[in-house]
């Protein structure tokens, strides 16, 4: 045992730190999710001159707990003729994909506490990020693409026409808006020269967060619209559309399975806001560079503001009709994103810093590739 630990000590420490981070982020998200359900109903209430939930606890703050307990004790229903396996799998798929995509989002640089300094565990500095992937942005794109299956399977497995229509609408909507979403990232990736989210924030720091924000503003607008469609928020919540589809894909779900679907939806919303905060708003960089220090709190403030914007939009913008949704996605948003990509790459080619062509790597890659093709 001693020997085993000796050989794998590095691995064991890495695994321990990773598990610790996962535990912290998992529970933090759980808390943020329940808080978001409360904040959303409260803010919506105030915006519509209502009160919102205010009975449980001071200002109704215990409402999420009450909802959770209620859902726990509800009866689990399964509709007749449902696809049993997929009916169970759908909420699980939805929730897992929602959580996994947050693994690559950085919340800050190395953890530095005031009055304490750099925090390290077993001689390792703690980075506020679970996995620093080279393909971070693409990874999130991939996992979001898988996330649609949670909704599609939920719609199919329920054996109900409303749920099926909800699932169909959702898949059509998501792959229509995924294109614009992906294209809105291109200019950011081009300016940063990397898919790594940490590098993108570093590029924003080099350029000054405000310059970065203004430079990427059109992409930011396109991103926020496409992201709202991607996470099925109003005005793009046609998969749910309660006036026409009752509740869309989750109409047959009850009890904790319903709670899981709901949770996946909110966590997806948190993910897209966290991503926007990192890519467009400079993440944990302070908005007044040099005056206020950089801190993970800035990241959370920006993220919460974007979440507030989503609630704000829900309170003010009516739902699209289905043909309007498709028209807007394919005829307005995607062309706008394409024009921005062409414009931005043109500007980068003419005015961007000239980098020396990477001759050394070209020569090393070409012979190696030659071997493969033989």
């Amino acid at each position: 045992m001693e020997n085993f630990l000796g050989a794998n000590k590095d691995l064991a420490i890495d695994a321990f730190i990773a598990v610790l981070k996962i535990a912290v982020i998992f529970n933090a998200l759980l808390g943020l999710f329940s808080l978001m359900t409360y904040i959303e109903r409260r803010v919506l209430g105030f915006m519509q001159f209502r009160r919102g939930p205010n009975r449980t606890g001071p200002f109704g703050i215990l409402q999420p707990a009450a909802d959770g307990i209620k859902l726990f004790f509800k009866e689990e229903l399964m509709p007749e003729g449902a696809h049993k396996f997929l009916f169970f799998a759908a909420p699980v798929v939805a929730l897992i994909t929602a959580y996994v995509s947050l693994a690559v989002v950085p919340y800050g640089g190395p953890l530095v506490l005031p009055f304490y300094g750099q925090v390290s565990l077993f001689g390792r500095p703690i980075n506020l990020q679970m996995a620093d992937l080279d393909v971070g942005v693409l990874f999130i794109f991939a996992i979001t693409a898988l996330g649609v299956y949670g909704i599609v399977f939920a719609g199919y497995a329920s054996n109900s026409k409303y749920a099926l229509i909800g699932g169909l609408r959702s898949s059509a909507q998501m792959f229509s808006y995924e294109l614009a979403l992906g294209m809105s990232w291109v200019s950011v990736i081009m300016a940063a020269g990397s898919f790594r989210l940490g590098d993108i924030v570093a590029a924003a720091e080099r350029a000054n967060p405000w310059v970065w924000f203004i430079m990427q503003f059109p992409a930011f607008v396109i991103y926020m619209i496409a992201a709202a469609a991607e996470v099925n928020r109003t005005p793009f919540d046609l998969p749910e559309g309660e006036t026409e589809l009752v509740a869309g894909f989750h109409v047959e779900y009850s009890s904790m399975k319903f709670a899981l679907l709901q949770m996946a939806e909110y966590i997806n919303m948190i993910t897209v806001c966290a991503l926007a905060s990192n890519m467009f708003l400079g993440g944990w960089l302070s908005p007044l560079p040099g005056i206020l220090p950089n801190s993970p709190l800035w990241f959370f403030a920006k993220m919460l503001f974007l979440l507030f914007v989503f609630i704000w939009v829900r309170a003010t913008v009516p739902r699209f009709r289905y043909d309007q949704l498709m028209d807007f996605g394919w005829k307005r948003l995607i062309p706008a994103a394409a024009i921005w990509v062409v414009f931005f790459s043109g500007m980068t080619a003419f005015f961007g810093e000239k980098k020396a062509p990477p001759t050394t790597i070209a020569t090393t890659v070409a012979p190696a590739a030659g071997q493969v093709s033989r």
Partner: protein
């Protein structure tokens, strides 16, 4: 390393089992679900080979985009069970191609490289980009492929339009 071994065999078993499930299921939705699982476990394999970029592309393109379209069509047509005509000409062609593929894979295993090179480099996405774009060797092929895809897209639209006009 023990972790690699567990990951490899885990992904391999899942890929094989779900691959068999794709062709043995009667409900097309189950087949589609199995195919998604296969694609994802293949992505795990790519990631283990040190190519995170290819792994992510595998998920984005195959497990994400293509399978969503598949599912969309299956759900739109509401294909419930297969009609039992799977042993037609396509079935025979599939058996024929399967035998060729099996022979080829046996030959690859016996004659080709049996192990990975000890130090297979981790490929970062920037390397992929440089390999593709900084030497003309792959650049023309890449651009030609994009024109091919574009013409396929235009072709699909033309075919769809014709049907509408009739």
């Amino acid at each position: 390393m023990i972790l690699d071994v567990i990951l490899f065999y885990g992904a391999a078993i899942v890929a094989l089992a779900s691959g068999i499930s794709v062709i043995s299921q009667r409900n097309p939705i189950n087949s589609a679900f199995s195919l998604i699982v296969t694609m994802c476990s293949l992505a795990v394999m790519f990631a283990m080979l040190g190519s995170g970029f290819i792994a992510v592309l595998q998920v984005v393109v195959y497990a994400g985009a293509i399978m969503v379209l598949f599912l969309f069509v299956i759900m739109l047509l509401n294909a419930k069970q297969d009609e039992g005509d799977r042993a037609g000409g396509i079935g025979r062609a599939a058996v024929f191609l399967g035998i060729i593929l099996a022979v080829q894979s046996v030959m690859v295993v016996t004659k080709g490289a049996q192990t990975l090179p000890e130090k297979h480099a981790v490929t970062v996405s920037a390397d992929v980009a440089r390999g593709l774009f900084s030497s003309p060797r792959f650049l023309y092929a890449f651009e030609a492929t994009s024109i091919l895809i574009l013409s396929a897209m235009v072709g699909a639209i033309v075919v769809a339009r014709k049907e509408k006009g009739k």
